[in-house]
Homo-oligomer: 342 residues x 2
């Protein structure tokens, strides 16, 4: 079975080399993948000349229009009709590829995907979801910034999508769901989140565990963490910032002491294992859930290893049963809610 992937080569803070080198590694282990490369050929052609083995595994679609990190979503929608990101998304909408991946401008990527690939019929707004490491392994978190403000239906949609995503990505039959709040008691939060909690808890196919707090995220208290995009984005970046903070203090303290340097040298293998467990590259690759086709977003600042992980997620999303499973669950929810309302 062959799988066609659309790659926006121009995204990413470190230039096209990151995604191209990651692709090279990825194709070695995934012989069934064929890749459409969207971007400026002045970067792509020299890379393919250096790597002649890739020649039959990729097709180059040249464009010199590019979306940068400062391009406003509206400009990306209205003015840049031939950007590499847009063409890559279009190829999926036109069934020329089964999934699209980019590490470019998130706002533009989401806006273009919504317009071109469109949202699943019963979902109002797509959400950004990613896996994060926790004490129990890993959890799924969404929304991470697509929807700064959410209504009740958005929270319910996120829970259903998170449920199917966790089933597909982690193979957990009945993943637990936690709603991020400022306390675990029923009366905590605001009326919106309280009504969302009530509605989520009424869907029998979801394994709803109740409210969770900020410190539950990394404990892995639940397999899925649901929040609005404002809170989710700030929580995720706070995790990154705190990990950076502790790492930095660690280096500072070690640097100032010869004895500490020696100690760290001796403990090196254990510290490496620790570093590997918190390495964000092992979880790189967010998915825009709720669109009709797989749209995968890599972190803009990642490297070859990180981008490779996002490529793996693209393949999983394209080959798994996420979209048919989601449709089934949405139909079930709809018919249940119709019955309740009659």
């Amino acid at each position: 079975m062959s799988f066609v992937l659309a790659l926006d080569v121009m995204g990413g803070d470190k230039g096209p080399e990151v995604s191209l080198n990651a692709l090279k590694d990825f194709l070695k282990n995934n012989k069934q993948v064929y890749c459409l490369l969207f971007g400026n050929e002045k970067y792509i052609i020299p890379f393919l000349k250096e790597n002649p083995g890739l020649k039959n595994l990729v097709e180059v679609i040249h464009t010199d229009e590019e979306i940068t990190n400062t391009t406003k979503p509206l400009v990306a929608l209205r003015n840049l009709k031939k950007s590499s990101m847009r063409l890559a998304i279009q190829s999926v909408a036109e069934d020329k590829a089964q999934a699209v991946i980019s590490s470019g401008n998130t706002g533009a990527y989401m806006a273009l995907s919504k317009m071109i690939i469109q949202t699943v019929d019963q979902i109002d707004r797509p959400a950004i979801a990613t896996a994060i490491p926790t004490l129990r392994g890993q959890s799924i978190m969404l929304d991470l910034g697509a929807n700064p403000e959410c209504n009740i239906k958005n929270f319910v949609d996120f829970s259903i999508m998170g449920h199917i995503f966790a089933q597909n990505l982690f193979n957990i039959a009945s993943p637990t769901i936690g709603l991020l709040n400022i306390g675990t008691e029923e009366f905590k939060g605001n009326p919106l989140i309280q009504e969302a909690a009530r509605q989520i808890s009424q869907l029998p196919f979801l394994n709803y565990s109740g409210y969770i707090e900020g410190d539950d995220i990394m404990k892995g208290t639940t397999d899925i963490i649901i929040s609005d995009g404002f809170t989710g984005n700030i929580a995720l970046k706070t995790i990154e910032g705190t990990a950076f903070f502790i790492g930095k203090l660690f280096s500072q303290e070690i640097k100032n002491s010869l004895l500490a340097k020696l100690g760290v040298l001796i403990a090196q293998p254990a510290l490496k294992r620790l570093k590997n467990r918190v390495d964000p590259r092992n979880h790189n690759g967010a998915v825009f859930l709720g669109l009709k086709k797989p749209v995968i977003k890599s972190h803009g600042g990642t490297d070859v290893k990180g981008f490779c992980n996002a490529l793996k997620i693209s393949l999983k999303m394209g080959q798994g049963s996420f979209y048919s499973d989601l449709e089934k669950s949405l139909d079930e929810t709809f018919s249940m809610q119709s019955t309740q309302n009659n």
Copy 2:
């Protein structure tokens, strides 16, 4: 000069011993402090018998009514008229003490304080503020949970209060202010936060730096971090959770390797310094800003060292010029806004 402090002995997850032992340590170094102890004498009297040196430094006000962590704020307000927390707050409202401290139920403490001590005239809603460690030293963060939903004026009020609080607590003449958002570009977030940003930036006595993101918190990008209480609470608890996560992974990896144990032993002094720099006890003590008198909240789960830090903050808040400075700034803001509207 003598300073009278009202202490709710009954708060805290670990029983009255924590606050009483912390007080004992604190009084040794702060001879000017006299303390009113509110709580059940069956805990307090035996402690005073064991510590006869305290006899002339404290007064016991017995009550057997108590607010627990599960008491709903409304019950605390309506039914428990003689709780230790309420009596302690009342003593400050009646000028029998200059500051009140408790490690009890935050919701009940805030509700009782608002009713009894009342909010500063030009402030709509009090906020919970605390210091947190950052790469640049420490920063002030508010609101941490008192106001799950905020309007524009709340954000402006929080900025003014944070400004005066940072001046008083850290002695920074012109502390920088960051508004927590999901991006640093002007168009990020929602209309509410954008208008709040505009209004904060127009107050010339504030040093407004613009939007900051979740990963800026621990970097110490700004001296003050402003957010609504929902986001702030989740960000703070996410910091705690992430620090716990990394600490736990560290122990797990070390435990499994004899060599790593040796390395850690050698690096011990450096690791201790690191631990001290992230120790939440060194920053324990949140302040309910916006009330007419100093109300200090200690973390319920802290120990003697942590509670001692909260006691220091109580003294600072009671002796500093926070309240007169705040009044001046609010008057300045009010007259400026009146001029603009005419």
